[in-house]
Every structure is written in C-alpha cells, then in structure tokens.
Symmetry: D3
Subunit: 334 residues, 6 copies
Amino acid sequence: MNQIITFGEVLMRISPRGNKKFMQSNIVEFYFGGTELNVAISIANFGGNVKHISLVSDDFIGDTAVSYIRKFGVSTSSVVRSKRPLGVYFLEVGAVMRPSQISYNRSHSSFSEVLPAMVDWEKAIKKGNWMHWTGITPALTQGAYDTLKEGLILAKEKGLTVSADPTYRSGLWKYGKDPKETLVDLLHYSNIFIGGINEINEVLGTDYSYANEDFIKASKQLMETFPSIEKVVDKIRTALNASSHKIRARMWNGKEFRETNDLDITHIVDRIGTGDAFAAGLIYGLQHYDDYKAMLFACAACALKHTYEGDVNYSTVDDVVKIIEGNISGRFVR
Amino acid sequence: MNQIITFGEVLMRISPRGNKKFMQSNIVEFYFGGTELNVAISIANFGGNVKHISLVSDDFIGDTAVSYIRKFGVSTSSVVRSKRPLGVYFLEVGAVMRPSQISYNRSHSSFSEVLPAMVDWEKAIKKGNWMHWTGITPALTQGAYDTLKEGLILAKEKGLTVSADPTYRSGLWKYGKDPKETLVDLLHYSNIFIGGINEINEVLGTDYSYANEDFIKASKQLMETFPSIEKVVDKIRTALNASSHKIRARMWNGKEFRETNDLDITHIVDRIGTGDAFAAGLIYGLQHYDDYKAMLFACAACALKHTYEGDVNYSTVDDVVKIIEGNISGRFVR
Amino acid sequence: MNQIITFGEVLMRISPRGNKKFMQSNIVEFYFGGTELNVAISIANFGGNVKHISLVSDDFIGDTAVSYIRKFGVSTSSVVRSKRPLGVYFLEVGAVMRPSQISYNRSHSSFSEVLPAMVDWEKAIKKGNWMHWTGITPALTQGAYDTLKEGLILAKEKGLTVSADPTYRSGLWKYGKDPKETLVDLLHYSNIFIGGINEINEVLGTDYSYANEDFIKASKQLMETFPSIEKVVDKIRTALNASSHKIRARMWNGKEFRETNDLDITHIVDRIGTGDAFAAGLIYGLQHYDDYKAMLFACAACALKHTYEGDVNYSTVDDVVKIIEGNISGRFVR
Amino acid sequence: MNQIITFGEVLMRISPRGNKKFMQSNIVEFYFGGTELNVAISIANFGGNVKHISLVSDDFIGDTAVSYIRKFGVSTSSVVRSKRPLGVYFLEVGAVMRPSQISYNRSHSSFSEVLPAMVDWEKAIKKGNWMHWTGITPALTQGAYDTLKEGLILAKEKGLTVSADPTYRSGLWKYGKDPKETLVDLLHYSNIFIGGINEINEVLGTDYSYANEDFIKASKQLMETFPSIEKVVDKIRTALNASSHKIRARMWNGKEFRETNDLDITHIVDRIGTGDAFAAGLIYGLQHYDDYKAMLFACAACALKHTYEGDVNYSTVDDVVKIIEGNISGRFVR
Amino acid sequence: MNQIITFGEVLMRISPRGNKKFMQSNIVEFYFGGTELNVAISIANFGGNVKHISLVSDDFIGDTAVSYIRKFGVSTSSVVRSKRPLGVYFLEVGAVMRPSQISYNRSHSSFSEVLPAMVDWEKAIKKGNWMHWTGITPALTQGAYDTLKEGLILAKEKGLTVSADPTYRSGLWKYGKDPKETLVDLLHYSNIFIGGINEINEVLGTDYSYANEDFIKASKQLMETFPSIEKVVDKIRTALNASSHKIRARMWNGKEFRETNDLDITHIVDRIGTGDAFAAGLIYGLQHYDDYKAMLFACAACALKHTYEGDVNYSTVDDVVKIIEGNISGRFVR
Amino acid sequence: MNQIITFGEVLMRISPRGNKKFMQSNIVEFYFGGTELNVAISIANFGGNVKHISLVSDDFIGDTAVSYIRKFGVSTSSVVRSKRPLGVYFLEVGAVMRPSQISYNRSHSSFSEVLPAMVDWEKAIKKGNWMHWTGITPALTQGAYDTLKEGLILAKEKGLTVSADPTYRSGLWKYGKDPKETLVDLLHYSNIFIGGINEINEVLGTDYSYANEDFIKASKQLMETFPSIEKVVDKIRTALNASSHKIRARMWNGKEFRETNDLDITHIVDRIGTGDAFAAGLIYGLQHYDDYKAMLFACAACALKHTYEGDVNYSTVDDVVKIIEGNISGRFVR
C-alpha cells in the first residue's frame, strides 16, 4: 500500500550528440521520456515503489520502451500495447543564447488512443498511496482527459494523496477542450499543487505578480477555491542563458511561507526533465521529511538532474541529501 | 525537357548499427528514403536531371530531409512543407535466417495530408520527359491517389514516358480503396511495367506460374489489357538467407523475351532500396541503351545497391557498366 | 509455481566493435552475460517467468548489471550485493580462421565470495518448477559449488525439474576440487542432461566416439549411472571457420533416438551464448512441446542467437517457430 | 539578379571529438569549410541566393565536398574539378587556457592550381549583385590572386557591391607577393571593409590604437585612400580563455559612429568560422536593414555561431533576430 | 644517467562518454592510468627520458597497456607480465554539483602480486638520476611496499633524487600496515615532498592549519623530522563545483616561502591525473629551472591537464611555458 | 645485429566505418600505414627487432604517427621530421562486386622531400641484418629513389640480406624515371624476390604465363639476370569478389619448386596490407624456418591479415603457426 502511481504518455526522445543539429550528423541517440514517466523513474531511483500506466506501441519500439521502464524497476504491469506507433520527439540541444528546439510527433501516437475502458484503474492503483498527474495528459485528447479523471476520482475515493503539476503548454490542447476549465476540474481531486504564479493565474483567472507576498495571496486564494489543496510549491528558475541557470523554491503550506536559497547550475548538461525531477523530489520529500526539507530535497534533485543526459534523474537519496547538506563542490567519490 | 519526375513520401529511416536491436543500443543512425525518392536519387547519381515532389514537415527534421535530397542534386523546388511530422520507419537489420524488421510511423505523416490542390503539376513537370510511380503512393491515402492520378493524366497529355512499379504491399491500403481497381486505373497511364508474376496476377486476377513461358503469356495479356504498356520487366530474387541473395531479370518487350544471368550477392550490406535501384537502373538504361543492356544495367545497379548502407544506391554509371562488363571480382581501385 | 530458476555468475563483457582488437580502438562496448544468466534471459524473451540468483557488486557497475537483468523482466529479487567488484571478461572477436579471444577477470569477483548462507534457497525457489545449472558454477569456488548443491538438493526435494549443462572448462577448477567427481555429484540431482560425447566421457570416464550408435550407448550408460536423468540432448556444431557454422542436435530420451538436420549459419554475427540459447530453447521446448519439437526449437534458437550481438538471445517464440517451419530465407518483415 | 558570389578554397576539416587529441582516438569527424564558403553557407541559411566558386578534387572526396555545399542550397554550378587532392586541415580543439591547434595540408591542393582561365567569371556572376572576398585567397598562390582580381574587376564593372574581409594571416603568403601591396590593390575594388585596427594599420602602414577615436580616424583615412569604401565594420572579441568570449562591433559609415554592446558567450562550442558568420550576417544585414541593425545582426550571428560545431553557422534570420530583440536566455523552443 | 624512474600500478580506466552513467550507454572508452604512470608519461611528453616499472597482465589487455605506455616513448623494459588480470577502474564523470564516481577492481590485479624478487632494481635504475613514488603503492600490498622500499634504498645509495607524493587514500591500506608508519618509513629516503597540510599532519601527527604561516612551520618541522627532505611543495585547489576549479601552489625550500597566483579553470574537461601532472611538472621544473619557476611550471602543467581527457597530461614544455608567460586567453594556434 | 630495416612513406589512412562512403557519414576512422611500415610492424608483432626509416610532418599529426609506430615497438630513432604535411589516403571499403576505392594525397607529402642527405644510413642500419624495400618508394620521387639506392648499396656492403617487393603501381612514377630501368637497377642489390609473373615480366620484358612451368622458367631467367637473387616467392590471390578470396604461394629457390594449398578467406574484414603481411611473414619465416615452412608462414600471415581492420597485421607467431598446423576452424580461445 505504498505504491506511487503515474499515468501519462511515453515518448521516444531522439537527438544528435552534444550540440549538433540533425543536419550535421546522421548518428543520434535515443532515450524515453514523458513528464509523468520521468517523475516515476526518478522516484524509483530514490528507492520508491512506483507503477507507470501508459499505452505503448505493439512493435519492437514498444518492447524497447517497456524494457527501458523495467530497467529502473518501475512496474509496467499496467502498460497496455497499442497498434499505433509510439510518440516521438526530436531534440536539438542549444547552448549559451541558442535555445534547444523540440519537434513532436505525438498527435496520433499509441497513447493518443487511450480511453477509460483501456485502463483497469481498480487493479492499477490497488497498492497505491499516492498519485501524480500533470497538465500534459489532459491536454492531449478527450480520451486521455477522461481516463485521467476516472483515475483521479478513484484515487480520491481510495484515499490516495494526489499531486498535481498543472503545467499549461499552449502547443497542445488541440482537441477542443478549454484548458482552464479542464485543469480546474481536475484540481478538485488534488492535494499538492506544484506550480507557480503563471499556473495559479491560469486556473484562477487572476493577475498576481511574482513577488512573495503575491505568491502567498495567490496560494491562499487557490486553497479557498480548491479546498483539497494543502500545499502550493513553486520552483523558480533564473536563466543566464541555455547553459547556466539558478534554481530555488518557495512554498505556502497553509500555515507558513518558506523559501530556499538559489542553487547555481553553472554548466548545464541537459535541461529536459528538470521540472519532473523537482516534482519527484517533492513527492519523495513529502513522504519522508518535513515540508521545508521536502522543498530542499526537490530543489537539490532538480539541480542534480541538470547534470545528467536524457529525461531521467539518476540521483539517489544519498546524492540529493549531500547537496542539501551543502556538499556542492563536486568533490570526487572513490 | 529531360527531367525525370518522381512523386512520393519521404521517410526518415532510423536503425541501430550493424545487426543490433533498439533494445541493445541507444545510438542509432538515420537516413532518408521512400521508394520513389530512392529511384530519384539513384538516377541523379547516374547523372540524371531529377525532380522529386513531396510534402515534408515544417520543422528541423523537414529541413534535414530537404537538405538530404538537395545533397544529391535532386531538385526540391516542388517540395511542399506540411504542419504534420515527417513519416518515420524504424529498422532492425537481420542476418542469416533472422529477417530484418520494419515498424512504420507514417499514417498521419506530412505526406498523408497531400491533396491535388497542393501540387502544381503544370509547373512541376514542365521540364519532364519521364515520370515514375509506384504502388506505395496510391496505397497511402485517397489524397495521395488523387494527386498521383492528376499528375499521371497530365504526364500522359504532355507525352512523358511513365514507368510503373505497382508493388502491392498488404500492410497499407487502409483508407478504403480496392488495391486491384486502383492499380488497374493507374496502369492505364503507364508505358513501362516493372513487376513480376505476383504483380501481374494481382492486377489481372490471373494465376500464372513463375515459368518463363507463363511470364511471356502473362505479359502479353497485360499489354492487351493495358495498351499503353510497352515493356514488362521482372526482377527475380533468390534468397539463400538474409545475408546472401542472387538477382536476375527477364523482360518481354512486345517482340522478344530476354533474360539475364544471376548476379551473386554473397555478403549483403543492406537490402533496403534494392528494388528501387533496379527501377532507377532500368529507367536510366532505357533512356541510354537498348532493352537488353537496360535490363543488364538495372540488374547490376540492383546488385550494387546491396553493398551500400541506407536506402540510396550510390553507384555511378561507371560502377554499373563495370559490372555489366564482367568486373565482379571487386578488385581495388586506386 | 511456474518459475524457472537459474543461479550463476553475472559477468560484464567488454569488447571493441566489429573485429577490432583493444589495441586498435579505445572505444568499446559492454553487455552483461554469464552462462546461466544467458539461459535465464533467453527464456524470459520466450515469455517465461524466470528468476536469476547471483551476487553482484555494490557499486554503479552492480547497479547497471541489475538494471540490465531487470530490463528483460528477469526477477532480481534474489540478487545479493557484494563488496567485491563484478567479474569482467574482455573479448576480441575473430573472423574466418582467426579465433575469438577471451580474457577473464573473475577469480576474485563479487560472485566468487558466494557461500550457502548468502542465498535463501527456500525463498528463492518457492515459485519454481524448473532449475538449470551448468558446469561453470561448481568450477569457480568451493562456496559456489556448495551453494549450488544446496539449491539442487532443495530443488529435488520440492520436485523441480533440473536441467544440467555440465560443460567442462579446463581454464577454471582452480580451487582444488576434481571436476569429474564434482560434476558426478551434482548430476545425481538432475533430470535433463544437455551435453555430448565429450561431457559424457568426462563424467563416466569412458571413451565413446561421436557416432550416433556410440551416442546412444553412452546415453544409456549415463542414465544407468544417474537414474534421475531422463533425456540426453547433444548439440553438434560443425565449424567451417569462425564466421560460418552448422548446428544440429540429437537426443536419446530413454526410448528413441532423434536427430535434426543441420542449420547453416553462413555469416555469424556473434557466437557467444549460442550454447546457452540452445539450453534455453530446450528448456522452453520441453515445457511446451514434445521431445522432437523441443529439440528443433533448441536448435533454431541456437542458430538465431548467432545473428545477435552480445551474450543474449533476443529471439521470441514466434521467431523460433518460423525457423522450425522452414522460413530460413530471412525475408523481410514489414 | 540577387545572387551573392563567393570565391575561395574549400577545405576538409578533420578533428577528434570534444577536446581530444589525434593521439587519443582514431575516430574523428569531418566537415568542410573555408572562410568564403562559410560566408556563402551562412547567407544561404538566412535564405539568400548564393553561389560559391572553387576548385575541388575529382575524386570521392571532391564529390563529398560538392554534395556538402549543395546540401545548403548553395549553387555549385561554377565549381571546377581538379586532379589535385582537396585541401585538408586538422584541428585539435582546446579548452580554457589550452588553445585550439590547426595543421594545414593545402599548399598543393585542388584550389592551389586555380588560374584565371579556369573560372568563367562572366557566366559565374551574371546573376550576382554582391561579391565577397577575404585576405585568405590572395595569400594562397599567384593564380588565386589573379583569378580573384579578374573577378573583382568584372564585379565592379557590373555594379556588384563588393565586401572585403582583408584578414592577414602570416602563415600564408609563401608565393612571393607582398601582402600589403596585394591587399591594397584589391581593396580598390571594394565597398565594405570588414576589419579592425590591425587590418587598417596593415594596409595603411599606420599605427592607430584600439580606441574608438582612433578607429574613427583610421576609418576616415582608409576611405580617403580607397574612395570606393563606404563602410568600415570592426568586430571586437574579448577572450577570457578558449571557452569564454565576448563579442561586440563598431562601425564608421562615413557619417556616424555606432557601437553595439557585448554579447557574452560563456560556454563556447566551436570558435571556428565565427568571423565568417559575422561577415555573412553583415552582408545579409546590409541588404535588409539599416546600418546599425545590420551590425547588430552580424554580432548576433557571430555569437550564435559559437554554439554550433563545425565551420558553418546554422542560424536562421529568425534565430538571429531573436537575439537582437534580447532573447538571450536560451529558453526552450517547443 | 638522466632517466627518471617511476614504479606503480597500471590501471585500465573505463568510462562512458561525457557525463553519462554506465546505465545510460553501453559504449564506453578506455585509457590507461595509475598515478606514477601518469607522472611518467607527462614527463615523457616534456621530452624527458623515463622508465616505468610495473606488473601487467599476460593477455591482450596487458599487451594493450604496454603498447599504450610505449606510445609515449616511456621505456617498458622493466615491465613484468603477470598471470593475474590488469587492475581496472570504472569512472562516471560528474558535473557542477554532481561528483565524479570511481569504482575500483584492483585488489587482486597483476600488480597486487608484486614482490621484491620480481624487480631487478639494479638493472632498472642503472640509468636513473631521479625516482618518484607516491602513497598509493605502499597502500596496496605488503609486496608493493617491500618492493618500493628496496628500490628507494638502492636509489638513495646510487644518489638519485627522490620525490615523494605521500597521498593518503583511506580506501586503500587493507593489508594490515599502518599508513602513518609506512609513509614515515619511506619518507626517510626522499628529497622532495609534494604534499600539503593534510599530508604533513598525517605523517607528523600534528594539527597545523592551512594558513601560510602554519604551512611554513609545518614544513620546517617536517624537514627536521626527515633531514633528507629539501623542499615542500603544496598544490592548493579551490573548487567552485565539479566543473570549475582554481589552482595555485606554495613552497618552502628551507630558505624562502614562495606562492603563485591562482589559475582559473572555468570549464573542466577531465580532473583525473591533475595532481600527477603537478608532480610531473615539478620534477621537470626542478631539473630545468629555479625553484619558483619550477612551481609555476607545475601549476601551469596541472591547470592544462584539466583540459585533456584521460589520465594523461599531453602538454609539451612549450605549452606550459606559454601559460607561465601569461598566455591564458586560449588564442588559436595555426 | 639482428635488426630488420625498412624505409618508406608513412601515410595516414582515413576511412568511414564499415562499407560507408564519405558522403554517408562525417565520422571516420584513421590508422597509419604504408607498405614498408606495414612490413615493419608485422615483423615487430612477431617479436622481431625492427627499425623504420621515414620522414613525417612536424606537427601533431606527425606526433601521432610517431606514437603509432612506437606503440608496436618499432624503432623511430631514424624518423626525420619534415615541414610538409604527412601523406594521407582516403579509403572507401567495398563489398561483394563493389571494389574498394582509394584516393591519395601524397605527392607533396613529408616523405616526398626526402633526399639522401637526410638519412644517416651508416647509423640507421648499424644493427641491421636484413633490409626490405618495395617498388612504391622508388616510384615516388627522385629523392626517394636516390635515398633508397644509397641505403641498398650500404646494406649490400655490410652484408645485410635484402628482400625486394618490386610491385609496380601505374598511378605513381610521375617524376620522369622509367619504372623498369629503376626496378632493374635496385634488384641488383637484392637477395629475395617477392613477386609473381607480372613483376618478373615487367623487369625482364618477357611474356611468361601464370602456369607453374612458366613460373619456374621465369624465376630461372630472373636469377640469371640478377645473380644476387636466391629465391623467388609468388603469392597467388584468387578473388571471388571483394568479400571472399583464396591465397596460396609458390616458390623457386634455385633448387626446387614448392607450392602451398589455398587458404580460403570467406569473409574478408580488410584487404589492405595483406601483401605486406605476406612479405613480413616471409622475412620472419626465412629467418626462422626452412623455405617451405617460411612460405607456409607467409601465406598464413597473409590470410590472417584479412581478418584485421587497418593496414597492420596483428597476428603473433603463435597465431600464424596454429594456421600452418591446420587450426583454421576459428575455434574460441578462452
């Protein structure tokens, strides 16, 4: 009864090495990712018991995706096979003032045909005590939204804690639903809100500024609107350029406001999945520590993810705790 | 007025190196291919003036595809950009008794949205004297069929020679058209039939055997049914296993039957696109030689393609002619 | 109660690409292997429920080994972590008349410290109905021998079928035990003997020839000596050179002698683990088919393994059955 | 009548990956470059119509060079094939305080045999409205100088705008000509001077300092000496070390002095060709914007080039304009 | 009589590319290293005459190690072949706040069986005028300690200068000896002490601080305790994180205290072997320059090593001298 | 006094991996080769004491070449550094009926400036007892011819055995000398003639056929013309195609005719340098065995070379002897 449940699309990520463009080299690397899967794997790397629910293609690419998820010890027992091809995203990694670029091939992917009838939620979450969702899934298709909602209703019923990362990505939401309405609907089943002023303004239709006072006010209004929400956690990224960022976090937990110091990421290796590493760190942290340490843990996990290639955060609890304890000099471990 | 025109989908081909599976290595290579494009590039490598008509994605993958086609000197002036992602195919290369495996992601690709209105055929073929089509394009979507047909009608009107490779691939044809009817329709605009007993039986609804006598009878019946057809050219492949094949060809040109000897391909490097290399060799050959030498040229081009990685036949006219002249010992060129 | 249990060392295999020597390139590839693990993974790829028992290092190399095993869905719940480094083998792949060369670094490996107390056999085999062992494990250390024996005793007690591949490798057996005595001891707990004249002569101290009549006589004598043995299955390899082999099998099952035809492997990709693929095929075959088809399945699985890089046989039941049904032309699967 | 014409050597650039030395790895990468070609390709990437004139080898390396140029849509119709091998340069990329090192093999290259009779300038520039030359070409051989001069005379006659990047590289100039005299001669045909105090002092024999006032004085004197020159544009690089630079520019256009702010390139990917990217940006900019924006465009293009591997600037007009507009945080483009 | 003698283990270093983990890619690179070998090769790269004494495996890995050492012109005439496998270390390279991680497989390596009888010291050092040792060798096995001591006794007798880098690594010293006692014993044969406050406190049992005054006091006490010691040279590293360090040095030579400025290494390529590069630079420097310049040379050599992949410092005397002279802008060398 | 001396150009060989063309991948591999160097390294790999005399470039490419030669233990003490760049050859490896293609960049290479004054032959051969030359060196430049001749005169004087491989390559000989005359001149200093009917007919101006009787007659006439020649050894290659060859040899030693059986090389890895491996095997064989076994050794060495990538034969005496003894099944060595 301690399983963490995630549900979302698995994407194959294909990119040239280093900072090359596809035009420069016909040798490329692939990983698998997807925002909820990234959270799942990161928590598994912390030693958590995790299950990821998804639809993947019924071909050797789908086999490879399943074996990839299994490799991290994440349960694939609720992964369904689909006749459609797996979603793909192509990535060109920028540097300095050159932004990274992503091109998606996902609109008719395996996951795009998900319907509530395809997921046996009763069975899928029967060992769960936590469920995590993001704003990507309901943005994909009506079926994805319906399926997620069914899962959330059951999760609430069964008493799972629900964390929500209601990211709004404007490039999605093509199937006719209003993003605000949809996210508002789903937030009613959620306990932990992982997001900042942009996300709060989006769902409340407000106009709060980035200042801490406004963050507190906004959080309070959010909690009034969604009484199930207990904590609002905001990750703040300051980007010098594509190669150097700073990360800190702040939180309103209904009682007090806490804020961390900036962590300085001077030589970014891979920026993808760093938000997911934050969410995973927060979930793990809230399950094992007090609120403030959970936030420190999330921040450190997020910072560490910037040093790994691919979507996945490979850091262990030990690795993260060392950062929290101030060991940020990167001294050799023999 | 000597341009060869091809029309068809451009696919990104992604495969691990050597005989690896995707599960074995996250480093893969990509090329671009597509049966008609393969024909186009092969003819360009023979020094031909070629234009390829297609729809590719309007992102950095589409840019890469265009630059790939341009690299061979094939004109991309009639390539249209589409909002959908480029089609992809994944390939695992077999060996000995292990077959190669292909998985497609093309059903909602850039090319899948082609409609007659998107191709300005008048402009596209105004320098053309030859047009080549295959059974893949009409098998994709109604729009692809309609667009191709419009092109063929105009090609006939303008007096271009039309070669047809009416391959029937059962994994396609999902949009509701009957393959036989469709291919029959398009063959009425064609002059050169590149295909064997299987293809003839498919379009005639007959049951001819592989014997030479039957091939001649079948060809005669085909020419009676389709009076525009002047030559029937059949490539015969004998496979020991995935690593060793033999290739020969036979032809009925309305007057005489000719047959080549087997070319022995004892150590196959890459089998993909070898049929396209045959078609390209035949088209080039018929434009420059007599029927028999054209068939020898096609066979040698096809055999050589087995020694190049990727979809493309890199051999030059010189390379092919040397094989025809019997230089098959692979002796060093310094 | 249908789990197949294997027990043995996990080795990291490191080799340059293609036919290179370490002296030629500082870029190398690694996989994990080990004869019993290879059997385990191959059966898992057939869809079997498999558990592998081993000791691996307690560092990032051990983590990588565990994730590698997990990737194939083989249970790692009985894998123990050791303070010693994981065993390694270095491989240079030969070609034609040049033999492949292997150099081991395993004598003080993680697995070398295994002792009976470290494996909870009761728990480990509680879902098992089959156990497989090879002559490599008892050849490593006294502790490995003792631990294996303890497992076999329990397996016999619990009614598991035991298959034995009593390969004798002269480079091992450094810890003082007599190979013959040891293998004889362990064969008393075994039901299926996977081996040929060499192995029989080794354990019986006889001098049988390779002729079929002698094979039958030898098998009979073996079964008399070890009444638990029900079947003797022999894989016969005919090597033209390092790049081209033929494989067939013969069997004495106490009642009849059966023999398969040769399968011709004309372009070997990787010869390592092909014996393990045979054993895995046989185990899977005996669980699902009659004796003769099991032998055909084993042979085809073995032949297919020669077409995959690494120690692992990636073929599925479908792949193998196609070979048995005579589809050995390696024709494309689209 | 809007083609931009470049003329110069095409070199094959060969380098190990990352910061490796040739002694460290026998796996290397190649691109093609050459200062004028780099300008040509960069302008083509901005959407310009460009032709590059050169001599390349008549072998598969020359074929590869031509296909490389064609890939960017640069016209190769005036590329001549030579019996000599293509020039090569070997590069070891430094980092921090370790400088990059280059070793050339170009003194008897394909291009080194260029003579005026080999280039049909009338035909080559008939669609041109701009021609660009650099100080590298006249430094190579008498034939290169003569051929370039013939082109410039015709360009002036036909009213093309001529931009000059009279870089002085002391390692060249082996064929007996005096650099100063030669550059002075060619500047008489030029309208845009891309260079700084060093270059001005070189051609004028003066001793101006780097201060802005001196730059203005120097520019004025230059324009007096060469009345055809209308603008002097100077790129100023401040290097912390091999991995971190700042770039800004200043210009005297005969009427006013303008200067840009520094762009900070904190994590250099590849420094080669950044001057060429500046020149290309300036040419494109002067054709589409006012002088100041042209200079901003050149600076941003130059800065962006530091983030691409190889000699070529892959940035588009859009990419550059975003930098000009202040989007230098490298935020993701999805 | 000008040969520099080193004695110590040769290790094979295996690591994934860039910042990858072994779990992320099965393609890895190898080099050879070992602290004393690194010193040897670095001095050979400065043009020194160097011999390295070691035991390596008698297999193709040992052959590769020998050829690697030979490649730098270091004499391998005193390298002995052992039946045991070569020691290996696995490395995952960190970045920013993620530390690099190393896992060793060396406790039963080729070198671990070294005994005094295996090294013919008379012959090995007969052309030597300098010998260098580090705290790693006596930490490995009793045999290694005994063999080293025998060498040092002879070196002292023959009048060689002996430099000592008495690094204390707590992960070693498993064979029962007390580190302090052992290092104290060996320091009696040494003339140059390369180490800082930590090392001095370790051997003296003192508690000096890092302040310069304490360093001077500590050095004086060290020289009193070990009258053979003439100079104490301390390298001071300030780490911002795993990607950015500063290096400076200070020295007490019995007469005066000297200190260098910090060298700023803003983008570290590979940190391994940088201490060895310092030692090599110091040895070379003391043989060719005065004390202060020797220290500058050591510092610059150390800084440059951070820009090369692998254990080896590839810089030449020229490269190092340029840094000393202040050329740290990394300006191109053509 | 047992050193084998070779003299000739060192070339950098650059080629794409596998059967790729340069147009297909910008990742390539390099080795170093050159016919006489290949002989030198192969003999060193047999344990011989070898010195190679050459001129290489005075840059990092030349450094890499020297380190490459040193790696095999071949003495580089007579390698001179030149201001010109090292010669390069580009290779595209064919397969089946596609021939490999080579393109040279050597006519103004480092070695091309060799003059007799640059080689101190007295010193270079003072430890020699054998010298080997080929028809490539005198074909390069007058200086190369003169320098070689000076060496051969001294070698004869000092009593070294001289082996000659008077290959005639028509693509060379550009400097005005008549090949026949030149080779005839040099053969007067030679004792072992490694060549077949083509080479004999070339130097004698005869017209012998390939039949054994003619070979004997031709050899006799050769020995009459060149009384210093004691043995004529001919390697006979039968090529099925670029991927499969057979090798045998025949010899006339003045007394008897001997011939070996064909060795079948069914899956060629790399054909370059196989003639050099034959020569090296013959030289080693004649120094250690009787004539017939020397010929067997040469044949087996040649056959083995086809299984190694690059120019170099990595086989040891052991490896070769196993082939002579009939172990050609490529059975594993563990």
